[in-house]
Symmetry: C2
Subunit: 205 residues, 2 copies
Amino acid sequence: MFSGAQMSLYPMTDDFVPVILGALSALDPYRDRFRIETDDLSTLLVGPPGELFPAMRDLFVAAAGTGRHTVLSATVSRGCPGEPDADICTPAEGFTVLGSLEERVAQSLAAVGAARETGRRVAAQFSYYPLGAGRHMDEIYACIDFLKASGVFGRSKNFCTRLDGDAGPVFETLAQAFLRFAPAEAHLALDLTVSANSPSAAARP
Amino acid sequence: MFSGAQMSLYPMTDDFVPVILGALSALDPYRDRFRIETDDLSTLLVGPPGELFPAMRDLFVAAAGTGRHTVLSATVSRGCPGEPDADICTPAEGFTVLGSLEERVAQSLAAVGAARETGRRVAAQFSYYPLGAGRHMDEIYACIDFLKASGVFGRSKNFCTRLDGDAGPVFETLAQAFLRFAPAEAHLALDLTVSANSPSAAARP
């Protein structure tokens, strides 16, 4: 299989370059398991599906730690038939075992409950695309059932779902949605926005 | 049908709020045909599928006109079965007439060739998701054939396709990919990043 992400960091400051460069060391613990390539639009991460969201979490928390309004935007994918197989993307054991919907929701909720808090509050929204599936809305609705029980569910928006909370459980919720709600061989994509330190958020009632 | 976008503007400057507010008047010519709602993460545009990309183009060109490194990120969707029908989204005549692949490519190329230049050079990348289709990769490959002939094709990247050129033909190419490569009743999503004034782009050979 092939799994990875195209991700971008957007610090809303004149000093966006040092904020981005200063956060990159947060990826160091992952570098031996990932292929990482950067151009002027995004950074490609290719690696095991279970580590994509932890890597993005650590990068984003580091950048948001500057206090600047910062957004991470990412396109996350697994199982794309147009991409070559890559040994580097072999999922961790257990990933491919799909139980009943009830079991998967329970496993996902346990993982979110065990997520370490980071002390960084974030708002996120994402869209979930199960591709090549004739009844794709069934998988989307099953995933939404999990999200509503996750403890970080914000609200349903047009075209996406909003999450609010500490970056730890928010990114774990995203990881579970990505990992557990489609078969291992499925082609799945997830389109993600995560924001911290927004002045608009502070102004919300 | 229901069509629209969740879009966000990211000006990489301390003055990001005035850049965003200053660009919003570019949406004025579209307001009578759109429902527009903003929260701290994104702005929702709901309206006719053929006007989504022109509206985003005008907004982005206005924001990038400040000279600041600015990114527009958007999730664009049509035909989602989970959304209500909306009269406001009725497509313009001709939208639902799908000819052969060759005819569609020719129509799309004609539209891109007629696109007005804006004087603003942009780089874009996007992913195209035909949902609920058993042979979704066929539609993706057909769309890529058009993109390669569009005149603004940059390169294929993992998970997405890159476009480079003037904002006029680039946004028209995106619009054609969104409008012409799936039936009118299909559920289709497109995940978009557009960038201007990047110092990394200037440093490219």
